[in-house]
Each structure stands twice: as structure tokens, then as C-alpha cells.
């Protein structure tokens, strides 16, 4: 699952996607139809025409009502199907990103955002995925801009906005905009989730290492390890690698070696280096954890444990 690219970016002008994906107001054909029926009905009731003409008008009204009813059912069905397709596409992009199938995810997100979307929720999700993909392709400036636009248009709830602000802080740090990063982190600190957030601890850890404050990084790591361990999942590897770099800066090679080994036990060395340029300084100087050969990971069948739904 690891990949180590600098990959060619498949994204063109991402700013234009913001505009092109904006949902268009829908023409309320059904209301026009309903108005027409009402007019015909009133016309039939109030006009002083002959019985034959009135019967014809009433027959016509019934036909229009039937047509309108059928149109409503068909149009409702078609709209529902289109909304569901859009939702499925959003889920598919999410899964592709989680599975780290970046080119396919990028192609799908570009296709989805290059035409007006049906719901603002799906558009917000698409733009968030686009920001993540831009970060993956090292276009951190564009990723930060995209997140700012999503936040600016108030497309998401408070919790999602918090996650996006953390992503933005990471993006500007990667982009070496340290002043912006500091501002972003200070803004994050004011949020109610800041104290218990593992992601917040990770971004501050990265800032400490990036700005040459290894002692602060080590103290922060030791203080926040329980929260990071509980919340970050596999990204805990980033925290271990960052603290390894902090120890390395202090020339505490023993502790750096242990932390680096733990980081590489979770995530391969090459992937860590792809994520953070700072880790290139560690490569070759500290041994990565042994990873048994994955191809040998199929157990020979014995007598035990048969019949399991595996």
C-alpha cells in the first residue's frame, strides 16, 4: 500500500472547479404546471361557455393533471437517482483515498467537480477530498486555499471545520509558510477541542521540529502520546518519526534510534520520507524496523481451525 512518488499532478486550474461545481438553481417546472392546471380549472368553472366547450376544457384539465402527476413521479425518480449516484461517487472517492489509490481518486474528483453538483453537501465533500489530494500531490498552497474557500463559504459543520483547520495548518507548514502556520495553530488553540486533540498535538509537534525546537517537541510528545495513540491510528507513525528527528537534532542517537524503529514498524521508511522532507536526514543513519516478507504471510494449513468463516 505504500507508494513513494513525486507523482505528476493531474490537477489543472483548481480554482475554476470551485465555480464549476456550484449547484445551479433548478427551474420549478412543476409549479408552472400546477399554475396552468389551476388556471384551466378556474377557467372551466367560471367561464360562461357552452356545455360542450366546458366538458372539453375539463377533459383537457384532467389530462394535464395526469401529465403533471406522471411528470412529478418521473422527475422525482430521476432526481433521486441522480442524487444517489452523486452520493455513491462521493463514497467511492472517499474509499479510493483511504485505499491510497490517488490517481483514480484524483480523476474521479476532477470529473465530479467539473460540472454543477446537485447538493451542497456532496460539493463540500468533493472539495475536501480535492484538498486532501492536492496535499498528497505536494500542492500544499492550493490545498490550503481550497480549505480556506470551504471554510469561508461555511459549507461544513463545526467538527468538520475543526478537522479542516488542522489540515490547513499542516498544509501551510509543509509549504514553509511558518508565520501563517503559527497563526493557524493559534487559531486552533482557541477551539474547544484543542486540548484533547491528537491531530492538534501532531501539528504542533511538526511545527516544533520544523522551527528547530526539539526539546519542546519531545516534551509535547511525552505529554500528548496517550491522546495521539488513541486518536491518530496509523498516523501515530508520524509522531514517532517527528520525535526521532527531535532526538536526532539534540544528538541523542539512542532515543532517536528507538523512536525511528517504532515509526517504521507502523509505516515504511520510504512513505515517511515522502510525507515529511525532514525525515530524509534520518534515513540510513537509523535502522528501520524489520518487516517480515509480506509474500510469506499465508499460513500453511494444519489441522486446527478449519471451517472458519474467514
Amino acid at each position: 500500500m505504500e507508494s513513494v512518488s513525486p507523482m505528476p499532478s493531474p490537477f489543472g486550474d483548481v480554482e475554476s472547479l470551485l465555480e464549476r461545481s456550484r449547484p445551479r438553481p433548478r427551474v420549478a417546472w412543476l409549479w408552472y404546471g400546477a399554475g396552468l392546471v389551476l388556471l384551466m380549472f378556474l377557467g372551466g368553472v367560471t367561464s360562461g361557455q357552452s356545455d360542450g366547450a366546458r366538458a372539453m376544457l375539463q377533459g383537457l384539465t384532467s389530462l394535464v393533471v395526469v401529465g403533471l402527476f406522471c411528470a412529478m413521479v418521473i422527475s422525482g425518480g430521476v432526481t433521486l437517482k441522480r442524487v444517489r449516484t452523486e452520493q455513491h461517487r462521493v463514497v467511492a472517492i472517499d474509499e479510493l483515498i483511504q485505499l491510497r489509490r490517488w490517481p483514480e481518486a484524483a480523476a474521479l474528483v476532477m470529473a465530479m467537480l467539473s460540472r454543477p453538483m446537485l447538493t451542497p453537501q456532496a460539493r463540500a465533500a468533493g472539495l475536501i477530498y480535492l484538498a486532501r489530494l492536492l496535499s498528497r500531490y505536494d500542492r500544499f498552497g492550493d490545498a490550503a486555499t481550497m480549505i480556506e474557500r470551504v471554510l469561508g463559504e461555511q459549507m461544513v459543520d463545526a467538527e468538520t471545520a475543526w478537522g479542516l483547520r488542522v489540515d490547513r495548518a499542516f498544509a501551510v507548514l509543509h509549504d514553509d509558510r511558518l508565520w501563517d502556520a503559527d497563526r493557524a495553530i493559534n487559531e486552533l488553540r482557541r477551539q474547544p477541542w484543542a486540548r484533547e486533540s491528537g491531530a492538534m498535538a501532531l501539528v504542533e509537534l511538526y511545527r516544533d521540529v520544523k522551527t528547530g525546537h526539539p526539546q519542546d517537541a519531545i516534551e509535547r510528545f511525552n505529554e500528548k502520546l496517550p491522546a495521539m495513540r488513541a486518536q491518530l491510528g496509523i498516523r501515530l507513525a508520524d509522531a514517532y518519526a517527528l520525535v526521532a528527528r527531535a532526538y536526532d537534532l539534540l544528538e541523542n542517537t539512542g532515543a532517536a534510534a528507538i523512536a525511528y524503529r517504532q515509526a517504521t514498524l507502523l509505516v515504511g521508511e520510504s512513505e515517511l520520507q515522502r510525507r515529511y522532507g525532514e525525515f530524509k536526514a534520518l534515513a540510513g543513519r537509523y535502522a528501520a524496523a524489520d518487516r517480515p516478507d509480506r509474500t510469506a504471510l499465508t499460513a500453511p494449513r494444519g489441522t486446527e481451525g478449519s471451517g472458519s468463516p474467514s
Binding site: 500500500m1 392546471v37 380549472f41 372551466g44 368553472v45 366538458a55 376544457l57 375539463q58 377533459g59 383537457l60 384539465t61 384532467s62 393533471v65 395526469v66 402527476f69 444517489r84 463514497v91 472517499d94 474509499e95 483511504q98 485505499l99 510528545f221 511525552n222 502520546l225 495513540r229 488513541a230 486518536q231 491518530l232 491510528g233 496509523i234 501515530l236 514517532y240 520525535v243 532526538y247 532515543a255 528507538i258 523512536a259 517504532q262 514498524l265 507502523l266 524496523a289 524489520d290 518487516r291 517480515p292 509480506r294 509474500t295 504471510l297 499465508t298 499460513a299 494449513r301 494444519g302 486446527e304 481451525g305 478449519s306 471451517g307 472458519s308 468463516p309 474467514s310
Partner: protein
């Protein structure tokens, strides 16, 4: 607290009534169109009948939507530990009549989720079986989630044959990534309890990749289970690898508290510390 028998009975009654009502509305609409010329019904009368059907249909939709919205709020309440509020939402939703089949079954499945969180395993299993019996629309994912809760509840009750049957049912469903991850957790738990060490190690490379997509605690639990499988099979290199990853992601003492058999990985101590840097 909503009695599960009454919730199941009410759901069954509403589903039947909703089906009858839909047929009746459709029949009335069709009759007003087809029979109008035959019985010399005036255009105005036809229009009034059609409008009546339409208004009733829209009112039922609106009412059903309110019921679905009430239920939809409950997963968030359950996740935040506010079980009383979740119970109140679900009780109100299940008491309301709805013509949405999926909405009604969804509410019942959320009630099963709540009972699972309350560790009322037998009630959760009962609710899930009721949901599965009614065949929810495949695209809604209700059946898959109900099957997951059923398997988890049966495992918690040490009903291994029942859990095996529930897990086998997944192979008839189309699973998304999230459901695949959930299924891996349940499946590993089952294999650990049943002592199926070969199956735990089977396709471990693929499982390793899936655990990387999980939250810390379940990832640690699954990898510790695989480590134990590897240890039992004498594949010590893999046992060390998976155990090392598990103890980085989760506190060994907590893992042992949840699955006492995992004590074998860390010796007998239950206060094993995480490796310190």
C-alpha cells in the same frame, strides 16, 4: 426504556399498514382516471380526486420524513454517550407511522445499535433478527449493519455457532470499505474465540493493510489477535511484528481487559506498559 418486543411488533404492524395504504392510494388514483369516463365523472370531480390522493400522499411523506429525521439524530447521540436522549428519539420515531419502509427499519436498527452500546446483547440480537427478516432495500446498507451488530452481540454472548452464521451472511452482501473493516474486526474476534489460528493468519498481508485504515483501538485489537495466531502457529517473526504494532497503537493492559486470552502475548502481567521512547 422501549421494550424491544413492542418496538418489533409496532414496526411489523406499520410496515403492513403502509403497504396496504400505498396500494389503496395507487388504486384510488388509477380508478379516478380510468373509471371517470365510464361513470361520467366530471373533470372537476376527477381533478378533486387526484388532488386528494396527491395531498394525502404528500402529507404522509412529510409525516414519515419527520419520523426518519427523529431516528437519524440518534447515532450521533449514541456516539456521544447520551443514551437517554437517543432512546427518546427512537421511541418517538418508532411510535410515529411512516410509509417509508427503509426509514422504519433504520429506526429499528438504530435501536439495536443503542442496545449494543448498552451491552444488552440479547435485545440487540433480537432487534437485528427482526430487521433482517424484513429485507431492507439493499442500497440502504441497513441489513449489513444489522448483521454486524447481530454478530457482535452473539459473540458477546459466546454464541459461536450463531455468530458464525451471521458472519457467513456477509458473503451474500455487497460491502463497502467501512463495512469490510467492521467485518474484519468481528471476524478476528470470532476466530480468536474459536481458536482458529490458521484462519487468523490467513491473508494476513491484506488484513495488515486494512488495519491501517482503522482507528487505533480496533487496529490494535485485530493485530494483537493475529499476533496470537502467529504465536500459536510458531511463526514468531510475525508474532513479534504484529504484537509490536499492536502495543504501539493500544495499551496492552486495555487489550487484555477486552480479550483476556491476549495476555499470552505479553506474559501474565496485566499492567504492561507501552514501549517508551
Amino acid at each position: 426504556m422501549t421494550p424491544v418486543e413492542s418496538a418489533i411488533w409496532r414496526t411489523r404492524r406499520d410496515l403492513t399498514f403502509a403497504a396496504v395504504l400505498k396500494v389503496a392510494l395507487l388504486a384510488t388514483g388509477a380508478a379516478s382516471l380510468l373509471l371517470a369516463p365510464a361513470i361520467s365523472l366530471s373533470g372537476a370531480a376527477t381533478f378533486a380526486m387526484m388532488a386528494g390522493v396527491w395531498i394525502l400522499w404528500m402529507a404522509l411523506n412529510y409525516h414519515s420524513l419527520k419520523s426518519s429525521r427523529l431516528a437519524a439524530a440518534s447515532p450521533l447521540l449514541i456516539a456521544s454517550g447520551d443514551y437517554d436522549a437517543a432512546e427518546a428519539h427512537l421511541d418517538a420515531s418508532l411510535r410515529m407511522f411512516s410509509i417509508f419502509r427503509a426509514g422504519k427499519l433504520q429506526a429499528l436498527q438504530y435501536l439495536a445499535l443503542l442496545r449494543r452500546e448498552q451491552r444488552r446483547w440479547s435485545e440487540a440480537a433480537q432487534l437485528c433478527r427482526a430487521v433482517l427478516k424484513h429485507r431492507a432495500p439493499a442500497s440502504s446498507g441497513i441489513a449489513v449493519r444489522a448483521r454486524l451488530i447481530l454478530a457482535q452481540s452473539l459473540l458477546a454472548m459466546d454464541d459461536l455457532p450463531g455468530a458464525q452464521e451471521a458472519i457467513l451472511g456477509f458473503y451474500r452482501e455487497k460491502l463497502g470499505l467501512m463495512e469490510t473493516l467492521e467485518m474484519l474486526i468481528v471476524q478476528s474476534d470470532y476466530q480468536l474465540k474459536a481458536g482458529q489460528w490458521h484462519d487468523l493468519m490467513n491473508e494476513a498481508a491484506g488484513k495488515l493493510e486494512l488495519t491501517e485504515l482503522m482507528a487505533s483501538q480496533p487496529a490494535a485489537l485485530v493485530q494483537a489477535s493475529i499476533a496470537l495466531g502467529a504465536k500459536r502457529l510458531g511463526r514468531m517473526e510475525w508474532a513479534t511484528f504484529f504484537r509490536g504494532r499492536a502495543e504501539l497503537l493500544g495499551e496492552p493492559a486495555e487489550l487484555i481487559a477486552r480479550r483476556p486470552i491476549l495476555a499470552e502475548l505479553w506474559g501474565d502481567t496485566r499492567s504492561q506498559e507501552a514501549p517508551q521512547v
